[in-house]
């Protein structure tokens, strides 16, 4: 989703009448709870498949999508916006004469989808003229009629709006009582009801749920004109409303008492902590620039993994298809052949589309491929990429990795990032033990500013909370910290990863790629990890 769409819907700019087209229409909350009859979807899909093959397509897939979203937006004691949206329609993709064609329609009649299928076939035939090599699809065995559902406990769409509003206003009140000057909090809920059918003989009905609770707590010192914010330490998740149960067992308390969260989140407790920590930032000393050993909490590391491993190992970027927008990649194919030393032997990174609670967890991808987990970096060495059906042959593979996704029925599916995660260390290691080994370091919690070049070499990251580490002990909260890395050097500087008891997920609700841009949601897991001798800069400036 584009930033301006998000701002429009969250009411942070302009009037409420502007609903981004990709969100479809605004509906009543009750309509978020309904589903489409599978028999009707199958009938529509069969109409499209028959029309495409009748028109000369050698392959066809049909995606019947109902994309539901709910936003509840508040600041302090006010509700700024409550919006429910639905976008429903059908996307048909075909191969004809060796070329791709795509067409989409929101006409949900058999005639309507058949017309779209014929149009897609005509487009494919027209494209075939300028195609340099025919599409090669890795084989997929049809699975017949199957269904899959995110394993949620409580469907967020069924929770009354009043309860959601009350919860956010209580969170805000708690932050204000704890010393915040301002607080913005949002509930953002997604349900993708997706039906996929293809000429391979698959009819796959999936019900995918996601939840996100962005929050910004601001503290101000009027006399000096200084202001500081602290954002939520939660993660967007592929879970239901039970994520907000805030179970004590899901609290991860660091050696200096900072509370992070695992499989569930206590938003109110985090708001109170945020208010105090934002206030403390106003007087925290500024970092001295130089080389430090960084101890990175998973609430921070997910973004570094996302930018410096997830993106460079997307095969379409490696090949050059994203050169004009997202960029290319330093991790070229020859590096896989040479088993490039991407990181130290502590670094084992997997792509995983079957991780419970993750944003990318689905049963099948958007071209009907059963999802799986596979290695990208093993003992520090580059071993693989992320691919889809028409790319697998380039890697010498006989099957797709299941990374195909479209953000809407009207968007063409293409290769998107799987959940990409750093595996926990095999030896038992707690955060306290890891810190005890650090002479001169910084402990970083939460994600902050992030920027990386178009080939994913040079990156800079901030955070939410920074604490000095001196001679094995955590010290004062400090400010103005950002670290700069060159990707391979950074991952080769990884000296320790905590064990699996510390493992948690972070993630992005809006990862943008493609032209026109599409967004996808993806998680990245890790345990707390240490990186030695990393260049830290001071970001404080004076405007005079």
């Amino acid at each position: 989703m584009l930033r301006r769409d998000f701002l429009a819907i969250t009411g942070l700019v302009g009037g409420g009448l502007v609903v981004p087209a990709a969100f479809g229409k605004v509906i009543a909350a009750e309509a978020l709870q309904s589903t489409m009859d599978v028999a009707i979807k199958k009938r529509l899909a069969d109409a499209a498949l028959a029309a495409a093959t009748g028109a000369g397509a050698t392959y066809c897939d049909v995606r019947i999508g109902r994309y539901l979203r709910q936003f509840v937006v508040t600041r302090e004691a006010n509700v700024q916006n409550v919006v429910n949206t639905e976008s429903t329609g059908v996307g048909v993709r075909v191969v004809a004469n060796g070329a791709w064609g795509f067409a989409a329609t929101n006409d949900m009649s058999s005639d309507g989808v058949a017309a779209a299928a014929r149009q897609a076939t005509a487009i494919a035939k027209a494209n075939a003229g300028s195609q340099t090599a025919p599409v090669q699809l890795a084989p997929v065995k049809g699975v017949g009629e199957v269904s899959w559902k995110t394993p949620i406990v409580k469907n967020s769409m069924e929770v009354p709006i009043k309860d959601k509003v009350d919860m956010l206003l209580q969170v805000n009140a708690a932050a204000m009582a704890a010393g915040a000057d301002f607080v913005n909090s949002i509930l953002f809920l997604v349900n993708e009801q997706k039906y996929f059918a293809s000429t391979d003989g698959s009819y796959i009905d999936q019900d995918v749920h996601r939840i996100w609770t962005p929050m910004t707590v601001t503290a101000i010192d009027k006399a000096s004109g200084k202001f500081r914010t602290r954002a939520e330490l939660s993660a967007p998740m592929g879970r239901g409303f039970e994520y907000l149960d805030g179970k004590p067992a899901d609290r991860f308390v660091s050696p200096n008492g900072v509370v992070n969260y695992g499989n569930s989140y206590d938003m109110k407790a985090d708001a109170i902590a945020a208010a105090k920590q934002a206030r403390a930032k106003l007087t925290a000393p500024s970092v001295k620039p130089g080389k430090y050993d960084l101890v990175l909490d998973p609430s921070h590391t997910w973004l570094t993994i996302h930018e410096s491993v997830g993106h460079p190992l997307e095969l379409d970027r490696v090949l050059g298809y994203e050169a004009n927008y997202a960029g290319t990649s330093f991790a070229t194919l020859d590096k896989r052949t040479a088993n490039f030393q991407y990181g130290s032997d502590k670094v084992n990174i997997v792509a995983d589309k079957v991780q419970v609670g993750s944003l990318g967890y689905v049963g099948y991808d958007d071209e009907g491929v059963k999802t799986k987990r596979w290695d990208l970096i093993r003992d520090g060495k580059l071993v693989d990429y992320q691919s889809i059906r028409d790319q697998a042959h380039i890697l010498g593979k006989t099957e797709s990795d299941g990374c195909c996704y479209a953000d809407n029925w009207a968007s063409v599916q293409f290769q998107r990032m799987a959940n990409v995660s750093l595996l926990p260390g095999k030896a038992k290691l707690s955060v306290a033990d890891m810190i005890a080994d650090v002479e001169n370091g910084i402990y970083i919690v939460g994600d902050g500013s992030f920027s990386i070049d178009q080939q994913r070499y040079n990156a800079q990251f901030g955070g939410q909370l920074f604490y000095e580490i001196k001679n094995g002990k955590l010290g004062a909260q400090i400010e103005d910290v950002a670290y700069q890395i060159r990707t391979p050097e950074f991952w080769n500087a990884c000296s320790a990863v905590c064990d699996e008891s510390d493992y948690r997920l972070g993630g992005s609700f809006f990862d943008g790629k493609g032209q026109p841009s599409q967004s996808s949601a993806v998680s990245h897991g890790s345990s707390t990890a240490r990186f030695n001798g990393i260049n830290v800069i001071n970001t404080a400036r004076s405007l005079g």
Partner: protein
């Protein structure tokens, strides 16, 4: 696909407004047709056309607001969407910041529509792709690009007698050209309202020249340098800074435009006296709709004049609270400059760095608007008025406020939009002292 006529749209809007039993009702119909073509590795990869027409209805009972939308226009559908908005309003919590709909206004039309852009066909798009790819193939370069053109209308009416209608078009073209060995990269972008003057065959030469010329890049120690930022390179930084020109944010103490002790910096000297920003919906090269998203008429207005803050953007709620006259939120940004081109600025530079494009700009510290990002697609060393050799790309950490106090010279503004800026802008090339590069990047 042709859009409904203005008379047809007005009839639907008035019917909708009359149907509503709420205290007030605003109806808006928007329609867009967007065509695009994408190419990479010297091949067309995708192309498509998306048409969307939508009716939005907002009603209010007291301070309770409901919004519903629909894309059908028969009487039953209109009735349904009005009742849905009313039902939602009755259930909605009160919004203490609710401001009633604007009363009857007189809008002066702005020249946002180009018949040439609206008439773009799939064949035109294919020709643009071919005009970009063919010369690259001939010189063993590799092109990846995107063309997107939009034709749109907006019409609205409310129960207080207000009504507006206008059409608009835009064309946005970007192309990245790389050498076959991946050691050089160049880029070109054009954002236009009227496609008449657009010629991909001419534009692509800029990206091709930069790709070839940037292939043997040398490393220069990071530090503070005199730079010439081309307009596209400067626009991203300016764009981030303009997010803070919101009056409420400044008054609340969370902006670089907040004053110590409270209030905002209207009237204070914040930039070099050569810095002036205005907004003007009728600007011939960068026109925008003459009303904002609330229907408040936009005006020609200076935000910064002679380096002093003269105006901020007030929402209707905040204007009412602060006793200010509400003016439409800025839809474009026009930065004043001189008459000289980027090439002229290079010719008068003894020692400096030319930056084609900035990339992945992110906020590091909102207190000072410290931004980080990277150069890409053509960074060159200038000596004695000439481009001497290509440079490896840099990461910068710089605040646009500091940057706009270190001006050597501003050139002639050109239009920048879409990818590089959040709103349509006229931005000059700028020669700046002491621009802060903090590390080198190996990326090409």
């Amino acid at each position: 696909m042709s859009f409904p006529t203005e008379a047809e749209l007005k009839a639907i809007l008035l019917k909708v407004v009359a149907m509503s039993k709420a205290d007030e009702c605003t109806a808006q119909i928007t329609g867009t047709t967007t065509g695009n073509i994408r190419f990479a590795l010297n091949n067309v990869s995708t192309s498509g056309i998306v048409t969307d027409t939508q009716l939005s209805v907002q009603v209010a009972y007291g301070k309770r607001v409901g919004i519903a939308t629909i894309n059908a226009f028969d009487d039953a559908a209109l009735e349904r969407v009005v009742r849905r908005a009313e039902d939602l309003a009755k259930l909605a919590p009160e919004n203490p910041e609710f401001v009633p709909a604007v009363g009857k206004q007189t809008y002066r039309a702005s020249p946002t529509f180009s018949a040439a852009t609206a008439a773009i066909t799939p064949e035109y798009r294919a020709k643009v792709a071919n005009a970009s790819i063919a010369p690259c193939k001939a010189e063993k370069l590799v092109a990846a690009g995107f063309l997107s053109d939009t034709n749109r209308f907006v019409a609205f009416a409310n129960s207080r007698g207000n009504y507006g209608y206008q059409t608009g078009t835009t064309l946005d073209y970007t192309c990245t050209v790389r050498t076959a060995d991946g050691r050089g990269s160049g880029w070109v972008a054009r954002n236009l309202q009227d496609s008449t003057s657009f010629d991909a065959g001419t534009e692509i030469r800029t990206a091709m020249r930069k790709a070839s010329a940037s292939a043997e890049a040398r490393a220069l120690e990071p530090g503070k340098y005199t730079v010439i930022l081309e307009p596209a390179a400067a626009a991203g930084l300016i764009s981030f800074m303009m997010r803070f020109f919101d009056a409420r944010q400044a008054d609340e103490g969370r902006s670089f435009l907040s004053k110590k002790g409270g209030g905002n910096k209207i009237g204070e000297q914040v930039y070099d006296p050569r810095v002036s920003f205005t907004t003007d919906p009728w600007h011939p090269e960068a026109p925008v709709m003459p009303w904002d998203e609330d229907g408040v008429p936009r005006e020609k207005m200076a935000l910064v004049d002679g380096g002093k803050i003269t105006n901020l953007n007030y929402s209707r709620f905040w204007a009412q609270k602060q006793g200010k006259r509400p003016v439409g939120q800025a839809g474009n940004l026009l930065m004043a400059g001189g008459t000289r081109s980027t090439a002229d600025l290079v010719r008068s530079t003894e020692r400096g760095i030319l930056v084609t494009r900035t990339w992945y700009i992110r906020m590091v510290d909102p207190q000072t608007v410290l931004l980080t990002g990277l150069t890409r697609d053509g960074t060159f060393f200038i000596e004695n008025g000439q481009i001497k050799y290509p440079l490896k790309n840099f990461r910068f950490n710089e605040s646009p406020i500091i940057m706009l106090n270190n001006i050597d010279e501003l050139g002639k503004p050109i239009r920048v939009g879409d990818d590089e800026a959040e709103m349509v802008m006229m931005i000059p090339p700028m020669k700046l002292r002491d621009f802060t590069f903090t590390s080198l990047s190996d990326a090409v």
